[in-house]
């Protein structure tokens, strides 16, 4: 299929906008062909996932663009990288790998991207508005932008993000278009205990279950309370994008394209209806843990990056207690959020209590955590999903309340009653 190119697209391809724009446009057009797009569209912001070092290929690619004079022409934020530039001593990995990772980060900064270094760009002050066409990578940011902000990005991978930022263009296909944003599968949570729906920990578990059961479709969740908080929707989306390939969901009464179930399905029928029972939720929760020891060696929170509200809650949960000396307690967040939470007085007391804040990166993508033989506890379904494979650790999933209680005592403390009684 041929993609109808605008005059600007063609001038990029022909090299009139410089060699970097020509190369970037060639990648965009090849992707547009694979997506069966008939044309490209303007995008107003980009979020770059390509800045995380995975080996020589990603650096070769960035240098290939930079050597051709690449500069971004739209506001462009950067995802997490392999290093914590605010707390550089936390990095425990191979020195050469660290050097290459830093070169990659510098390369993207020189191309004009903002050094935000966060997987939660939707927690920055400037964020896309409803209906805005954007080109974001990072699976949790994609699902949040589409579902919660009502902005429009396809499920972009690395490389295309920076190409779109260089040309300000992306394929007019996938989740950019109305017809591809309608719901496919209906998940009914009406039968669950209401007080369980009021727990933070319910949302990543629901997301994990939804991701597993959505295939390539868009899930619609019916029966949640109206106006579910952004932090809960963030946890839900991140989990669904890890256990499945969800790029967008509708939560009826909470997300902007789903004021009613009918609106979410654009008046059509769901292809499938799944009743989310208490048994299914408990089974999904259990899939997130690989161990059930009575002791824990570490806690890792903040995947995706913790928000100011989540840090505030952590501050309140710790009260005046401290982390057990045998436990390493990590919280990953963005540098902007760290600054804001620090101004509000949450960071210093938590650091004094033994909490280690990690910025610019995350504990499951780079060697930061000290080696532990005991399991690591987390409140993140995404962390629970990826960390065992990435880090070779055992993981126990629990509520943030459980993580704090366990981190203080060193003994696993999980309140199982909430899953049955709510």
């Amino acid at each position: 299929m041929t993609v109808n190119l605008s005059e600007f697209d063609q001038s990029c391809l022909d090299g009139q906008e410089g060699p970097a724009a020509a190369s970037a446009m060639r990648v965009i057009v090849r992707l547009a062909e694979a997506m069966e797009a008939t044309e490209l569209l303007d995008v107003t912001s980009a979020h770059i996932d390509s800045c995380l070092y995975h080996g020589p290929a990603v650096l070769d690619f960035a240098k290939w663009l930079e050597d051709q004079g690449a500069k971004v022409i739209i506001p462009t934020t950067l995802n997490v990288s392999s290093l914590d530039l605010i707390h550089p001593d936390l990095y425990r990995g191979d020195e050469d790998w660290g050097i290459q990772a830093r070169m990659l980060m510098d390369c993207y900064e020189r191309m004009g991207c903002k050094p935000t270094w966060t997987c939660a760009p939707y927690q920055l002050e400037e964020r896309p508005k409803f209906g805005e066409q954007i080109a974001w990578a990072e699976s949790n940011a994609i699902v949040f932008a589409n579902s919660v902000l009502g902005a429009r990005t396809h499920r972009y991978g690395d490389f295309i993000d920076i190409c779109a930022a260089i040309c300000g263009r992306a394929p007019a296909a996938g989740l950019h278009l109305d017809e591809n944003r309608k719901g496919d599968i209906l998940f009914r949570v009406d039968g669950l205990n209401e007080s369980l729906l009021d727990r933070d920990v319910f949302y990543p578990v629901l997301g994990h279950l939804i991701g597993k059961n959505s295939g390539n479709g868009i899930p619609v969740i019916q029966g949640l309370p109206n106006g579910v908080s952004e932090d809960r929707l963030k946890a839900l989306g991140a989990a669904a994008a890890s256990s499945g390939s969800v790029g967008m969901f509708h939560a009826v009464g909470s997300t902007p394209e789903a004021s009613t179930t009918e609106e979410a399905f654009l008046g059509l029928d769901p292809t499938d209806v799944i009743d989310v029972t208490s048994e299914k939720i408990i089974a999904a929760r259990d899939q997130l843990s690989t161990a059930s020891d009575s002791k824990i060696g570490a806690v890792s929170l903040g995947t995706p990056h913790y928000s100011v509200q989540e840090i505030k809650k952590l501050f309140e949960l710790f009260d005046s207690e401290s982390v057990n000396p045998k436990v390493n307690f990590y919280v990953s967040t963005g540098r902007d959020v760290l600054t804001e939470a620090s101004l509000r007085g949450f960071i210093k007391p938590l650091e004094d209590a033994g909490v280690i804040f990690v910025t610019d990166t995350c504990t499951y993508i780079t060697p930061i955590m000290e080696a532990v033989t005991l399991p690591v506890m987390t409140d993140s379904a995404k962390w629970a999903y990826y960390a065992p494979g990435n880090l070779g650790v055992e993981v126990i999933f629990g509520a943030v309340e459980d993580c704090v209680a366990s981190g203080i005592s060193g003994d696993l403390a999980i309140d199982n009653k909430i899953w049955i009684d709510g």
Binding site: S23, A34, H154, Y386, P388
Partner: protein, 131 residues
């Protein structure tokens, strides 16, 4: 049959029971499937014609695909039943910067069901065939 990315390959089929996220699921240096929750966890994708129903997971999958093509530890080709841009992109970029593309093909269910793990197949311009 649609070639998301054109290219030639031959190799042994490894048909996955579930979709695989390349990032967090495959070691780009060795090709081993490191996602222990995956039914084929512990097996290697290196040199295989990998089949899976559709793509899944992290955006960084594109980077892992490109790195696998660069290092030679990735699959020889990928066959799916639905298009996946994250996988396609990794191969498109490897083609652009190294001149090495890994074919990424979308086939109908009937075609998908023709092949099973262990089959030796050839991917050429005109499609897939048992060798």
């Amino acid at each position: 049959m649609i070639f998301l990315v054109a290219g030639k390959a031959n190799g042994e089929v490894l048909k996955l029971d579930e979709p695989l996220s390349f990032w967090g699921g495959v070691d780009p240096e060795t090709g081993e499937i490191t996602d222990l929750r995956h039914p084929q966890g512990g097996m290697s994708v290196k040199g295989k014609v990998l089949m899976m129903p559709f793509g899944r997971g992290s955006s960084s999958g594109s980077s892992v695909i490109a790195e696998g093509i660069r290092s030679g530890s990735g699959p020889a080709g990928i066959i799916m039943m639905e298009a996946d841009e994250i996988i396609a992109l990794g191969s498109i970029v490897a083609d652009e910067i190294y001149g090495k593309a890994m074919p990424v093909i979308v086939v109908e269910k009937s075609e998908y069901e023709k092949y099973s793990t262990g089959d030796l197949v050839v991917i050429a311009e005109d499609g897939i065939a048992l060798s």
